[in-house]
């Protein structure tokens, strides 16, 4: 059995086929009080009305700072957290109406790579069993010998020596472990992989290896990625389109070139200005204006535009009405009344 992607794969590049649709997704976590009888005193609006589409073969970046809801969005798509409201359509099928068995079947098509290669691999399992487990669970390769072959193939694809199947995670470096996590995600030949801060914990020289691996695999297996990350340089490198999140909302969504060369939302502008470039000449010429204040609490977000208390361009109206995402240029959506 080969690791080739399904038949009918589109040529490399973007297709018109929408693989994933997220419509008006909300996820509120209750804040409770009381020991025996819990009452909900407030809600954390982790994700508050997020909509986007991911096309087959594309990589959509989801960026933002801690607590902006980017990871929760990913977990809702995987149904690791049930959404409070909103629709998630994968390949045209509404994930909310699936039975448990159907959901399990769906999870063969959607896989995830987590941030921390230390805590996302079971320390008591050998690498070969970690990668083989999804195939066992989903009954894809019941024959143990065939499974071993397939594991060796996956290890090879991810740049590891097939002999590593007999090792335990603690015997490997962080970069190697992340490759194991990637091999596990590939085991079921998924169409769609959610990379949740998949390269953030790695050192730069190792990070570059894993980024290149992700790019190669995307082409080889015609994968579609949702790439959740806080590192803007990495997102710019890997993604076709980018959605910028702030406090549970998407504030800007556009092709990567547009987001990075012509950011229209003041928050995107502030984020980009804050990233230092590894070149002292460029750095000494740049103006270092930092955005004031800190991200407000998602329990009690500001009225109107959630960014207005920190926004250098805020006007009176910003605290009154919530700005809608508007398409200012073809494919370039911005939620700012002043943009």
């Amino acid at each position: 059995m080969s690791v080739d992607a399904d038949a009918g794969s589109a040529e490399s590049g973007l297709s018109d086929e929408v693989l994933l649709t997220v419509r008006n997704l909300r996820k509120y976590f209750p804040v409770t009080e009381g020991m025996m009888i819990k009452r909900t005193v407030a809600e954390v609006k982790a994700v508050d009305g997020v909509s986007f589409e991911v096309h087959r073969g594309e990589t959509l970046g989801l960026v933002g700072e801690s607590g902006c809801g980017k990871s929760t969005t990913g977990r809702c798509i995987l149904r690791l957290d049930p959404p409070s409201s909103g629709e998630i359509l994968f390949g045209g099928v509404d994930m909310a109406n699936l039975s448990r068995a159907e959901l399990n079947k769906m999870r063969e098509r959607i896989q995830v790579i987590f941030q921390d290669p230390y805590s996302s691999l079971n320390p008591r399992m050998k690498v070969g069993d970690i990668i083989g487990e999804p195939m066992k669970v989903h009954g894809l390769l019941p024959d143990a010998d065939k499974r071993r072959e397939r594991v060796a193939e996956l290890l090879h694809v991810c740049g590891l020596n097939p002999a590593m199947a007999d090792r335990y995670p603690h015997e490997m470096s962080g970069g190697q472990r992340q490759r194991v996590g990637i091999a596990r995600a590939l085991a079921l030949q998924p169409e769609f992989i959610i990379c949740d801060e998949a390269v953030s914990a790695l050192d730069v020289s190792i990070q570059a290896q894993v980024i290149n691996l992700l790019e190669d695999l995307r082409e080889q297996f015609n994968l579609t990625y949702l790439f959740i990350a806080h590192d803007l340089s990495v997102v710019r490198h890997l993604c076709h389109r980018v959605a910028v999140m702030y406090l549970g909302k998407i504030v800007e969504l556009a092709p990567a070139d547009q987001v990075f060369d012509n950011p229209l939302h003041p928050y995107t502008q502030a984020l980009l200005a804050a990233v230092p470039v590894p070149d002292p000449e460029i750095e000494s010429a740049r103006a270092h204006q930092t955005v004031k204040g800190e991200v407000p609490s998602p329990i009690n977000p500001p009225s109107g535009c959630v960014f207005h208390p920190r926004c250098p361009k805020a006007v009176d109206g910003c605290s009154m009405s919530v700005p809608e995402l508007r398409e200012l240029e073809p494919g370039h959506w911005v939620a700012c009344s002043e943009a």
Partner: protein, 332 residues
């Protein structure tokens, strides 16, 4: 003029069951008054251990400073008694650590932690030190100081806690601050705020700063001079311009090429450094970077290259430094 801090041939080792880890293996560098020196490198290269060695904060066992000298204002810190080094820590040399949640005491108020340093080192009274604590909080941009002084660390956000750490480091007007990954745990907009704050305050007060970091962008923005470490050794040292525009060591070059940058055309492929960093218990008699190096020759296996000058104030430890520099000239 003598340097504020002179580190000479510092060697720190950890004695573990797996063998002796040569975490810091003969590094030397100087820090002048008021300047910002960066120490860059990846996990396990010894950058944090070298910083902790300066203040003799290496846990013993298993760690031990086995050789070298650290002269601070002319005095060797390694010869001092425990009592003497304690009077230097927090007074003449301040520290800012990566994780402000674990380096602040969770059961003491911010006010108590700030005043403790002042009362211990300067013998100030409670009232004097409370006034000074309020002033320090204002200096690091924390408003509403009376309320903040009465709060505990868990009341504050990560950025706020790092501001408190900076206030504590500055409390006794030190000559030198050692900042170990000061912004790694913070979001990028907060990172920018904290770095700007540290730069302003150190320039304004004339404090020298050693920044330990893995982030090449942070170094480019803030450092006057840069030391690049690999496998326990400084392998290249020079001005920020030397390191970023005229690197002579293949590791420095490899690091610069492997970071995706905001100012480069999209779609260019990253050039990673293949392989893994070496096991520090099993170093041989050759250059430690050799197995990952594209410039390696037979000479590299036979001897460890020493640091040699390539330019005024720019030194590097590579037998093939000219080839590295040439490769850069040809590609750009």
């Amino acid at each position: 003029m003598a340097h504020l801090l002179e580190i000479e041939n510092l060697r720190t080792q950890f004695f573990t069951q797996q063998g002796t880890v040569q975490a810091v293996d003969g590094i030397s560098y100087n820090v002048d008054e008021g300047e910002t020196v960066a120490v860059v490198g990846e996990s396990g290269c010894g950058k944090s251990v070298s910083a902790l060695s300066i203040l003799r904060l290496i846990p013993n066992p298993p760690g031990e400073i086995v050789g070298g000298e650290i002269r601070f204002m002319g005095k060797n810190l390694l010869d001092m008694t425990d009592q003497e080094i304690r009077s230097i820590r927090g007074r003449d040399i301040g520290m800012v650590f990566q994780e402000p949640m674990t380096s602040l005491n969770p059961v003491l108020t911010i006010g108590r932690q700030l005043t403790e340093t002042l009362m211990h080192h300067l013998g100030s009274t409670q009232d004097e030190s409370m006034d000074r604590a309020r002033e320090l909080l204002r200096l690091v941009g924390i408003g509403d100081s009376d309320r903040r002084l009465a709060q505990y660390p868990h009341h504050l956000s990560g950025g706020m806690r790092q501001r408190v750490m900076i206030a504590m480091a500055l409390a006794c007007e030190p000559k030198l601050i050692i900042a170990d990954e000061p912004t790694t745990a913070l979001d990028v907009t907060i990172q920018a705020q904290i770095l700007e704050l540290m730069r302003e305050l150190t320039k304004q007060m004339g404090v020298a700063l050693i920044v330990i970091t893995h982030n090449l962008g942070v170094v480019a923005r803030y450092a006057d001079r840069v030391n690049v470490m690999y496998a326990g050794k400084v392998i290249e040292s020079g001005s920020a311009m030397d390191i970023y525009h005229r690197p002579h060591h293949p590791y420095t070059l490899g690091l610069l090429r492997s970071v995706p940058r905001l100012d480069q055309p999209r779609g260019t492929r990253l050039i990673p450094i293949e392989g893994q960093p070496p096991d520090l218990t099993r170093l041989d008699g050759g250059c430690a970077f050799r197995p990952r190096c594209t410039f390696a020759t037979e000479q590299c296996a036979g001897a460890i290259p020493g640091l040699e000058a390539v330019d005024e104030g720019h030194i590097t430890a590579c037998f093939n430094k000219e080839a590295v520099a040439d490769s850069l000239r040809n590609t750009t």
